[in-house]
Every structure is written in C-alpha cells, then in structure tokens.
Symmetry: D2
Subunit: 327 residues, 4 copies
C-alpha cells in the first residue's frame, strides 16, 4: 500500500533520522534526459529558508541516483533516488518520547506499530519524506512538458497578505496555517477515469498524503454548495470545450474538460508551535506541560507549494500515460 499511481507509480521510503529518505519511480518512459541540476531549483524551493518563518534543516538535499538512469537518460527501468540524512540528532528525541506531541503522529505510530516505530523526528511520518516526492515531481514535470503547473500560497493565518499573516504568527509566538492554490494549464480533454480513479479523487488522494493538509476543494469548491445551479454551471462555448466560467475547476464527471485545473488545499498550522502545550505522559500517566524544542517552521504551508506541484505532476503524469492507451 506504499505506492501510488496506476502506470506511473511512485513509492516512498525512509525516515527523518534514519540513513536516508528515498523514492522509487516505476513506469517512467526511457529516453528522458536527467541531470542533477534539473532537480536543484525545486529542491531549493522545498528547503525554504530565505522567507521569514522558515528555518530549514541543514541538509544538502542532493539527489543520489541509484538506478534507472544511464548516460544521462532514463532507461525505462525503475528509478531509485536517495537523499542521505546527515543532520541526524537522535538524542533530541529520546527525552520527548514519553510525551506524544499533539498534532503529530507520535501516539498513533506507537500504537499502530506496537512500539517498534522509528520515533525520531516523526520517523517515517516526517515531512522530510516529501523531498523524494519533489524529486519525483521533477521527472513528472519533464514528461508533462506542455503542461504548466503552478502552486502559490494565497492565504496565511487567515490573511490574504502573506507577510501580514506571518507577522501575526510571529507576534503571537505561535504557528500559523495557510491556503495554497494550484493551477495547471493545457491539460487535454479526457484525462481521468470514470469512477474510482477520476481526476478529483486522484489529486485529492495525493494532496492528503502531504503532511498537514486538512482540506481539498476544486473550482468553486465549498462555495459551490451555496450557489444556484444556473450560476455554478459553466457554459460550453466552443467545440474544444472551452467554458465561459470555470466553477468546475476544469473537471466535470471526474474528467478534465480542457479548461484550467484549479484547486485549493488547506494546510493546518505547524503542530510544533513554540507555545507551551499539554499532553499525556505515558510513563508518569499524567498530563504534562511542555514546549517543542528545536528547529521548526512558523508556517509549514510556506514550503508546501513545490510539494503540491510535484504531487499534481505525479498524478497528471499517470493520466498522461493512461491517455496513451487510447491511441
């Protein structure tokens, strides 16, 4: 259950403070040129660090190609890419172990895996695993050369002005959430499968796999529930299926309709807030106050747009492949 996609498939593995995190891609066509440089811009975007409110982990985040690439091109065999972890601080996490952090997977992971989970820095549940996804997204974007995918943060801490939203968090000495909008242009008509693997289901599936995402909506989204049908319906105006409005966000019947794909995701505030919090200490069996130490983002949504783009690209690359079956 650890892979996603029907033809262009992506599997992730690794832990935050283990040897590495990594990704394996199956179903990548042969002949795609790939160099380390291709990966750097998106990997850099994920690291963040320049913008107010991000305090990136000190990792080089250089992709190590382990298979499926030869003489600078994909071979058609499975591609495995690793990101070695160098900045490992296991001891930091021993102290915290008895007190499952609110909002984190500590408690559920411990229960689910009978106490054998790698608990250091969220282990396999860490957002660090998204570095592999961003790398996979770079390959997917190459496959989708005619499609333009762009995700931007449109709201932070309830403010449409991003700087103001961040300042609100800084002033409150607290973490804040945000909303990201993603638009993909030039998707042909007909991508998405009729029922289960329709485009909305597949994109939502991928989005909710990004840590901290708590909502996904397409086009008018939740606002659609408040509209009249005659207002919401997008009138088709030509034979290519171009519509007058785009309340559907480019998807009807679960299938792309040739208009821009538009969706938004809600990202919760960083669980590791600098504020004092309470949780149940499983050793003392009492509630306890504590504050999360160490490097943490004021707003995880800031670094998420490139991950959202990558995930979107992974889903679209799979549909691109499926579309070839029609030919």
């Amino acid at each position: 259950m650890n892979s996603f996609g029907n033809i262009f498939r992506v599997a992730v593995f690794g832990e935050s403070h283990g040897a590495c995190v990594g990704v394996t891609l199956d179903g990548v066509p042969p002949g795609i040129p790939l160099t380390t440089e291709d990966f750097l811009p998106d990997l850099e975007r994920r690291k963040g660090g320049i913008q107010k409110g991000t305090t990136p982990r000190k990792e080089d985040d250089l992709p190590v190609f382990k298979s499926g690439i030869f003489n600078g091109f994909t071979t058609g065999a499975p591609i495995t890419i690793l990101f070695e972890n160098s900045n490992i601080r296991s001891l930091d996490y021993e102290a915290q172990k008895a007190i499952p952090r609110p909002g984190h997977a500590d408690f559920v992971a411990h229960e689910k895996f009978n106490g054998f989970e790698d608990y250091r820095g969220s282990g396999h549940f860490s957002a660090r695993l998204t570095v592999g996804l961003v790398a996979a997204g770079v390959i997917a974007k190459k496959i989708l050369s005619k499609i333009d995918i762009k995700a931007t943060i449109i709201e932070v801490g309830g403010e449409k002005n991003i700087e103001a939203g961040l300042q609100k968090g800084i002033d409150a000495k607290d973490s804040v959430g945000g909303i990201i909008e993603c638009i993909a242009k030039n998707i042909p008509v007909g991508w998405g499968e009729p029922f289960w693997d329709n485009m909305e289901s597949m994109i939502a599936h991928a989005m909710f796999a990004i840590p901290a995402v708590k909502g996904v909506e397409f086009g008018a989204g939740f606002q659609a529930a408040k509209m009249f049908g005659s207002d919401h319906n997008d009138a088709i105006i030509n034979e290519e299926g171009k519509t007058k409005t785009n309340n559907a966000g480019g998807i009807v019947g679960g299938i792309s309709n040739g208009n821009d794909l538009i969706f938004r995701i809600a990202v919760k505030p960083t669980s590791s807030t600098p504020k004092m919090q309470e949780s149940f200490n499983v050793e003392t069996r009492k509630m306890e106050s504590f504050s999360v130490k160490g490097r943490h983002d004021l707003c995880v949504a800031l670094r998420a747009p490139v991950i959202v783009e990558a995930m979107t690209a992974l889903v679209l690359a799979d549909f691109y492949m499926i579309d070839k079956l029609r030919k």
Copy 2:
C-alpha cells in the same frame, strides 16, 4: 482502474439506461449473514422521494445476488449484486445528444471514448451507479458492527435550515447544493497507512468518486488554515489517546487516533437545473439555449448522505481488514 480498496475491494459497472448497474465485492470474509431485507432501508434512503426536492426515478432497486452468497451467508468468493434497469427511456436522450449539458460529463465522455460512450442519461457516469455502492456499503457496515457511521446534511443552498434552503431553490426555480457532515464513532487507534493510503487520502478518494462532490475537509478543515497552532492542536488527555478538542477530525499523521472521525463534503447544485441554459451545439456549431427536460432533483445533496455513509464504510472495512494483518 475500476476498483477501489486494497483488500476489501469494490468494483462498479453498468450504465444508467443499459441493462443494469452492478457492483462486485472482493475480499469479503465468509460467514456474514445477508438477506434482501438487510439492503432495503439504505436503498430506500438513496431513492429519496418523500422529502421536498427529490423526484426519484421509478425503479424497484431490488438487489439481485449473482454470486458469493449461499444459504444466506457470504461464502468468501466475490459477491456480485445487480440492479436491473427497468425505467429506460433511450429516446429522451437522442434529442439532447448534440448539445453537451453544462456540468455533466457529456462532452468529456464523448471526447474520451471517441464517441462510443453510452450517452443515455449520463451512461456510466450516472449517479445511478451509486445504488451498487449503497448495497456494498450495507455489507461493509455489517463487517464494521462496532462502528457507528452517520452522515447528515447540514446546509442547503447556503442555509443551515434545510427547509429554508430548499425553498430558496424552489422560489428561484433553480437547483441548489449542500454540505454533508459525516461522523464515525468507535474507530480504533491505528487505522490508515503512513503515506499514500492514509485515512484522509482514502476517504477523500472515495468521496470525490461520488458525483457532484467538489470539496472534502477533515475536522476543522479549511478553518484550520486560519487558526494558531496552539488552538488547533488537540491535547491528548489519556492513554487511549482521547483528545480535549477534535480539530483533527480523528486523524493525525493520516492515522485514526481513536476520537470521532469527522469530515464534511461540498456538493454542487444539481447540474440539471430547470432554468434555461446555454451550451455549444456540436452539430450546428453554434451556442444554443435549452432547458433540461425530465425528472431531476432540486438538490442532489439530499440523497447523498446514505452514499457518503456507504463510501465511508467501504474505506473503513478495508482498513478493518488491513488491521487484522497486525494480529
């Protein structure tokens, strides 16, 4: 790509005005007692018809068991259940064929399937296919005997008072959308897979497969993006993982945390509004005004709660099975 679930798997087939719609369930344990009567209450809820604003298709909607059930019990072999279509009116749809209806899959289906799609009443894209899902949901609910799943419509046409929302649509001679909230109680800690097949991804995947759904949010959902971390975090208060608040909607790290699962979906207004609309006539190659004839719901969200429950049950039954692997 026409099935869903990892162990408890559900496949649908059929068309609105073809011979039947149906569902095949794979991975159902042997020994579950099943009678026709077990299916009737939920099938009746899906039909609607009593409440203002639903005008149900005249079908008996009696499940026909074709395989996997013997002497009143599931056998462990695949279960196929059909719902024969008797109320077929093919001719109604010939006239409309040249004008793809806005908000419907007509245009995309025609493009995707090179003109070979069954276009009658949305064909394979019809909401009629959900009758099979409701039947599947009945079986899933039997498996989940200790879990209580309840979906309710909490908003219609932007109004929290359902009657008022429906009246708004009736007055405007237009269709309206709505919001449904689903709560599932008594889910054990630890359901959901760490990354791709986490519980939010799987539920969202299933929800967006329901026709007309345009948004899904868990717990505080989109509101979470406006909160501070210290407000959003749910403090753990005992060793069972009970939390003081439930902004997470019962899921952290993609895994159930033992609190109520809570999510909401946005349902767009019925695409077939009684109002005059415009679309592009592919034969005359001109924009044209038309109104959709025939039986149609004022608000499709009214009949959706039982489908939402069924889909939730299908996802949870799959996780219930996966959970057995830990034993």
Copy 3:
C-alpha cells in the same frame, strides 16, 4: 486478489450451481465491434461434446451483456458478461458433502472458508468459471487482430495419438490427462516487463489458474535442462531478431523476441474418475469407498485448448496495451 492484468484486467465471479458465472473486463478500448455471434464459436469449442470423451453439461452458454457494450460496440467502460446457470442440481451434491473428493477443492475450500463455501459442483472452484474466460478471450483476440493464437492437444494419456489415448482411458474405465501446446505468431519484439511481470511469469500465472494444470514449460522447457548452452542458444540471424532455432519459445529475458511464442501445459487426468476411490468421511470419521456420480469428462484436457487460447489472449492483450505506453 480476484482480478488479473495490469491494464487490460479480468475478474471472474460465480459458482457452478449458483445463479450464474460471469466476467468483468476493465481497460477495454472503446469502439470494438461485438455481437453475440462473435462469441459462439469459441464457446462451442469449450463445451465439447462431439469428441469422444466429453459429456458436456447442458447449458446454452449464451453470453448476456450487462454493461460496457452499446449499439454493438465497446464503450470503454467496464464490460460485464454473465452466463446464467440453468442446469442446477443442488441435491446431487448434498450426499457427497461429507466425503471430500480426492483431487477436487472440496476439502481445502471447506477449511479455507470456514464451512461457508458453496460446495455444489465445486462452487466457485468449478471449471464452469472458464466460460467467462473464454468470452473474455474473444474480446482479447479482437484486440490482437494481427496475432494468431492456436492451442492444440498433442498428447492424451501418454499417447501422441489422441484417439489411442482416449481409448486407453475408456478401456481402463478411468480418466486420462493430456498435454496442450500453444503457439502464438506475430507477437512484436518487446512485450513483457523486465522482472516480475515478464511474459513467462504472466502466461504461467494465467495457465495455472486453469483448473487441472500442473506444469508449464516454454520452448524446449524441461528438455532445456538437459542441453548444452551452445545447442540451446538461438542464434539471431537478422535485424528483426529472427532466430535460427527457437528453443527459447519466443521469450528471452522474459521479453518477446519476435519469434513464435511456444509453450506447453500438462493437464492432470480428470479428478472425477468413474473408478471407485477412497476418501475420509468427515462425519463418520472413517475412510470410505465411493464413486463420483454424474456427468464428467474422460479427459478434461480435450476442452482446454480454447481456454488456453483465451488465457493467452488475455495476457497478450494486456501486453499489447502496455506496449502503447512506449509510443
């Protein structure tokens, strides 16, 4: 786990003496013309009945199209085809129930499904399920219009003369087995995936799903183990990959090499021999002698070639689809 294929997927359901047996095909391209008549020749071959040694069940075996076919063409949506069971004789099987028949699935099915299995005439384990596969094979053969698949029985009861082999069984008042050879011509170079889903693995997987198959070999097969490398290797003689010999049976590295695909399967003698046999009566808890009553084939291998062709076609159709991904 009840479906097969990566893109062109086949699922079976039903029981020998239940309502029907059936098949659902997913991933079939739209626009393939299909009529009932297309199915009759292969269905007739499966029934047997003319040749000495087959005593076919009295069923019409007419395919009932339930979905995915419209106006005589495939639509691209899932295709479900049923074969209703009319010749049901449930009572015949009550008497036998306490004594699991040797060579049949009676004992294992009872254990596996905790006593809830449909035990009538092998239930879900019956060779009757192959009727759906033959129907699926007809569709697959249409897709593979340029490929010629032909399976023939080449040995019965250890005799290369089929009639002599059958007579041997008749004289001994016993059942006999046989060997079937299948040759597929005009498969392009490059079908099959490098590792797990190579062509030999996929064909063998399908073949062993046919009841009574106990061995599969490609090209020189078991004889290859006795050869020198210089004798077994097939020298490539032109740029299309044509080889001087074909000891590999058309597959190297698991991938088709452009030469004829050749393989053989071993079919065990019909388990339901007319001879007296012994088994353990689970009620009396004693060994007991009994003979299997009713209609049974002298040699099940006689009816198997069309099933072997169908299964081969299903595998090849899947590879045909996968091959499109390269374009």
Copy 4:
C-alpha cells in the same frame, strides 16, 4: 508493474554495473529482529564459488539497510536494502554492444527501451538483481518461522549425479542446465486464493521471474498428464487432510492442502557458454562468430536453489499475511 505480492510486496531495482541493486519490501510486520548476520548464510549460498563450475563475481554482497529497520527490529515501514556494486567494468561491454548475445536480453532490451537501456552486463536484466531477492527471502523466512523451505539441485546436464553432470559440461567446454526441486513443509491448509492468485499461479509467477527458468511443475507435474485419474488422485486419509500419496504436490484447487508443497523448475544452460557462437552484428549487418569473454558460470542452476527458496518464501509470506484476514 515492478512489484509482486498482494500484501507482503517486493519491488526490485538496480543494474548489474550501475550504482547498486536493491529491494524494497512493503507490508512487513513490525517487531521482526534483523541483523546483518541473519543475511550472510543465504547471501553466501547465492555467491557460490566453492563448488566446481561457479566463478563468482567479486562482491562483498553486504546488505545496506536504508529504511524500515530501527534498533535491530523492523518498524512496519517500507524496508529498502541496497547492495552496492563495486566490481563494475563498463568497458568490457562496449565491444560486445553491437552483437546481441544469444540467450540474453540484449536484443529485446534494446528494442523495448529504444536504445536507452543500460546494456552493461545485462543491466536491469542481470541475475545480479537476485541478490536483493535473497535478502528479501531472509526476511520472509523469519516471518514463516514454522515452515521449512528447502530447494536442492536434483539434475545437472541431464545427469542425476551432479558432479557427473558438471564434468560433462567441463569436458565439452560448454555450459549445462539443471533441475531444482523445492519442498516446503508445514504449510497450513487453505493458503492460496481461489482463482487468479492461487498458490500454483503465484509460485510459478515468481519462479519464471528468476533468470533462465524455462519450466515449472507441481507434484507429478508433466508426468501427471500420462497417468490415470485413479492413480493420480491423492486419497485423503484423515481430518487434517493428510493424503496417502502426494501427486498434487500439496496443492488442490490452487489451495494448499496441508501436505508438502513440492515443485520442480527447469533451468536452461548458461547462455554465456565458452563455445564460439553466432549472432547478427547490428552495425556491420552481418552474422558474426564470437565468444563471450569474462567470468561466467558453467551452470547457473548451481546457485539457484537459494533464490528458489527466497522466491518461495516471498510467495508464502504473502499468503501467510492473507491468511490473517480470516481470523
């Protein structure tokens, strides 16, 4: 399509002369103790080198754990294990590139991957990938603690005396094939799925993924086709399903029947024979004589038993997991 198994899933990646070969295991339960030492005996068996007729590649073959193992135990997260390639000799393969070697995947890989394949030492098609499978098999064997799996070579070069068979090859300055028999004891009744994923299909699928395997047979296998039904049928003699004979090889109806699982595989002679061979030079477009240089086994079957055991363990571990679903 690069993974295998329904719940306990195995994916392989890597190339013979790339950075590494590796394996990812998904669905491994948490809490299994694992040390490097656990892997050494089986990895050593795969290397061969002591027995006449094997000339192993000089690699340490030490497993490098990259994920899913923490503090000496499996965590329940995906396990990735790498084997770095140190003994890489890329230049050796440039000269051979124009002449696809008979019996190898050179020609088909070049066609399938449009010339982008890593052609060095068979690249992704190399038997070196089996080192990852052997490692995976070690973990699977730990899960199957009560089951005893043992594969032995029972024939080489057509001789039942292994030494004689090898000497035959040495004398002829040619390579030889062999037959391996695998017996697994203590498999409970009821493993295997009724139709597609029955035990014979799954084992055969795995076996044919081992390079050079050209035949698989269960129990009496091809000999069964020559027997009478009354001779082949295994009489059940007690309530545990113990049978008097075991012509079925422990599987009826595709399901384990509680008796020993017995099967044999045919391994073709090593394609890289020291003898002069002919092939088509794609550059000169002429037939050409050549001999394969470098380190190669006289008989690849010699090193295969541990791979056969590993593959068997992978299939059985998957069934072991599926069996938990019944509880």
